[in-house]
């Protein structure tokens, strides 16, 4: 019976991957159609918005597929020394248009000069990117405090490694809520109702990606901001500082 359940899960997983792969094409068509309209001189600002929304959805699907690919290759993944500050800066750049659209201010805050961490670069980038989407969506729906809605991409040294994640100036996530979200996920439409109106799928995609690197998301604090972060192992091999 257990064996049959496992078989169903594998088949369902493959079917979902095929469906997701198929969903990428119409999103790509929409995104590039909107970009072409913009390039052709259309002044309709809706095209920029459509392009951004479709590109964001496309990246989320792509990040999900990456998590399934990495999970299937766990044990033979190619880890490399990765600079957390470079990754966070790059992600901030990629998230900046969405943050502007959602009236959030993005900040990158690295509390010190850290040695590279051992990670799968594309996986780490995709995880933090997916998390960023959720936090921007969540924060934009919350009231403004001190004149701004701030999303902070931050890293600091923790007891067992470099803690890197996404944090906000609103106190919207707690350990209890995150634990509950994990048990609700897959059983309810809103796993993180205190954070986002939707499913918050980006959080679970990020967690799956990080799990392939033997780490998990957890609730963390960074300079009075709260958020979700992962602890990453520093690379001793390339310690430059």
């Amino acid at each position: 019976m257990v064996h049959q359940d496992e078989q169903h899960t594998i088949v369902d997983g493959r079917l979902l991957q095929a469906v997701v792969e198929n969903m990428k094409l119409p999103l790509l068509q929409v995104a590039r159609q909107a970009e072409l309209a913009r390039m052709s001189g259309s002044t309709d600002t809706n095209f920029s918005s459509i392009e951004l929304t479709a590109d964001t959805a496309l990246r989320l699907l792509d990040n999900y597929l990456l998590s399934t690919r990495l999970a299937s290759r766990r044990g033979s993944l190619e880890f490399e020394p990765v600079s957390v500050s470079a990754v966070l800066t790059d992600i901030a750049h990629q998230l900046s248009k969405l943050a502007d659209q959602q009236q959030c201010e993005l900040q990158v805050n690295i509390s010190g000069r850290y040695e590279p961490v051992i990670a799968h670069r594309a996986g780490l980038e995709a995880a933090l990117m997916s998390l960023g989407y959720v936090f921007i969506e969540a924060r934009s729906a919350q009231p403004v405090t001190s004149g701004k809605r701030i999303i902070r991409l931050g890293a600091h040294r923790g007891r067992s490694g470099i803690v890197a994640g996404i944090f906000t100036d609103s106190d919207s996530i707690s350990n209890d809520m995150y634990k509950r979200a994990h048990s609700l996920y897959g059983h309810t439409r809103q796993s993180l109702p205190g954070l986002v109106a939707g499913s918050g799928a980006g959080v679970f995609v990020a967690d799956s990606l990080l799990e392939t690197m033997s780490t998990r998301l957890r609730v963390a604090h960074h300079q009075k901001f709260s958020g979700l972060a992962a602890t990453l192992n520093p690379s001793k091999q390339l310690s430059l500082v």
């Binding site: 792969e21 990428k24 094409l25 790509l28 068509q29 590039r32 159609q33 970009e35 072409l36 390039m39 052709s40 496309l58 990246r59 792509d62 690919r69």
Partner: protein, 131 residues
């Protein structure tokens, strides 16, 4: 005017890429299959090929090997624009030099503007310009 052979199985994306390239002053032949692409290249030698390797009937890699097997097409610059993740499958970065691939664009993260910049870069390094 530089002539581009676009091998793209999806009709909507093909039209989108064609329109954006034409807007930038290139002439484009859009083919949806490998056989059509070979016929098109025979009729009008392209200055650049844009290739999706996930095409129907023939595999895009097969097309690529066949295309490169003809001496007159061996030096035509070629950019891959694909849904396939670059490091996966037979077309890993190590084989790019062998097949004279000038660049690889992974579609989900490639904007039209990025593609046009690559086209311009490859053609200008080859001494060909848009009109």
């Amino acid at each position: 005017m530089a002539h581009i052979l676009l091998v793209e199985p999806d009709i909507s994306l093909g039209k989108l890429y064609t329109s954006s390239l034409e807007l930038s002053g290139y002439s484009v032949s859009h083919c949806r299959t490998a056989q059509d692409a070979i016929t098109s290249a025979d009729e009008n030698i392209p200055d650049l090929v844009l290739l999706e390797i996930e095409i129907a009937i023939h595999n895009g890699i097969e097309f690529l090997y066949e295309f490169r097997s003809y001496p007159e097409w061996q030096d035509i610059p070629l950019l891959i624009v694909s849904h396939v993740v670059p490091s996966r499958g037979a077309l890993n970065p190590k084989s790019w030099g062998l097949l004279k691939i000038s660049g690889y664009h992974y579609k989900p993260i490639t904007k039209l503007q990025d593609l046009l910049s690559s086209v311009e870069r490859v053609l200008s390094s080859d001494g060909v310009k848009a009109l």
